[in-house]
């Protein structure tokens, strides 16, 4: 991958000049510099492209493993292959919302412009992950449970998550001024994140039709290794795609907000 050295910018955040010998201070200064739009613009493009290429490669490997190599389940037959998109999307649907809440807190506390952009830019892909989770779950439920939908705790809380994503997007667009809209979206993200533990523990707290946890990153998984490895590969794919999409959407938003600035014309001429 082409490495990009962060260019120095004279009007970068003031705290970037506060030199510190500690690792934490250095990281803070680096993050501060990265928060500057011209620096983020130059830094993000190689990472966006790398993540997209890696996502496409791992997608091909994962799908080949999941659809061609993995044996059919002894009870569910081939319909179990839907989990190869359902589980990664479900995991990411929750992860993205937690990310938005963390960025939202940073945006509200430290008023970092880039964090506001991340809150807004992450929401559409998070909504897509949630919509695919619900759609693939319904299409798996019909042959397995005999119904597309039931008002089960896990399904309902995931549907609430989709509404929360739509709420964040709608709330942001209801404001004419970007920063006010982004702050409102950040507040809703912080409120809505309470739904994440409800989704995660719903299969333990309530008597649900949805199965319990099958895959564990820390402990033992209940799946056969021949079925498990494509799933793990596709979880990595989902994360890589999300990083690429987040960077792309952040760049689009940044371009829209900074279009009148002089650095934008120079940056566009350079790429």
């Amino acid at each position: 991958m082409r490495t990009t050295k962060l260019p120095t910018e004279p009007d970068a955040a003031p705290s970037a000049s506060l030199s510190s010998t500690t690792l934490g201070g250095g990281l803070w200064a680096w993050l501060n510099r990265l928060g500057s739009p011209p620096i983020f613009w130059a830094w993000s493009l190689p990472w966006q492209r790398t993540c997209l290429v890696l996502a496409l490669i791992t997608l091909a490997i994962g799908l080949y493993g999941g659809l061609m190599l993995a044996p059919p389940d002894y009870l569910q037959g081939n319909s179990f292959r839907i989990i190869y998109i359902h589980v990664p999307c479900a995991y990411m649907s929750m992860f993205v919302f937690v990310f938005m809440a963390v960025q939202g807190a940073a945006a509200l506390i430290w008023r970092i412009k880039l964090c506001e952009i991340f809150v807004v830019a992450a929401a559409p892909t998070g909504a897509i992950f949630t919509a695919v989770t619900l759609a693939s779950g319904m299409l798996w439920g019909r042959p397995t449970w005999g119904t597309y939908w039931t008002w089960d705790a896990r399904l309902t809380s995931e549907l609430v998550l989709l509404f929360l994503y739509m709420g964040v997007i709608a709330l942001y667009h209801s404001y004419q001024e970007h920063r006010a809209g982004a702050r409102a979206a950040a507040v809703l993200s912080l409120i809505g994140v309470v739904n994440i533990p409800i989704i995660h523990y719903s299969v333990e707290w309530f008597s649900t039709l949805h199965q319990g946890q099958t895959v564990s990153l820390m402990g033992n998984s209940k799946m056969a290794p021949s079925m498990l490895w494509p799933l793990l590969v596709l979880i990595v794919t989902a994360k890589l795609y999300w990083i690429a999409a987040l960077l792309l959407k952040s760049r689009v938003l940044m371009l829209r907000l900074e279009r009148s600035k002089a650095w934008v014309r120079g940056a566009l001429a350079a790429t």
């Binding site: 081939n78 892909t125 897509i128 919509a131 759609a135 299409l139 689009v252 279009r259």
Partner: protein, 77 residues
């Protein structure tokens, strides 16, 4: 078991359709913005050049006045 394939196809079709839309919509938006910014840069460049030429041809203009040197017209297409 073979009658499960339509459900699998529908699930994977939804997956590719939604993520294709997610990526392509942002990509097209990026291209539209780049086009708009480049067009605006060209317009600004033409206006600045015209203003510079008209001021330099005025009878009372000081000698050596020319169009402002701007790189705005070099913005990426």
């Amino acid at each position: 078991m073979s009658d499960h394939w339509p459900y699998i196809a529908a699930a994977y079709g939804t997956f590719f359709a939604l993520f294709g839309y997610d990526w392509c919509s942002s990509l097209f938006e990026m291209r539209r913005l780049r086009r708009d910014i480049s067009a605006r840069a060209r317009r600004d460049h033409v206006a600045a050049t015209a203003q510079g030429v008209s001021s330099s041809t005025r009878p009372d203009a000081p000698a050596g006045v020319s169009a402002p040197d701007t790189h705005a017209g070099k913005a990426h297409e």
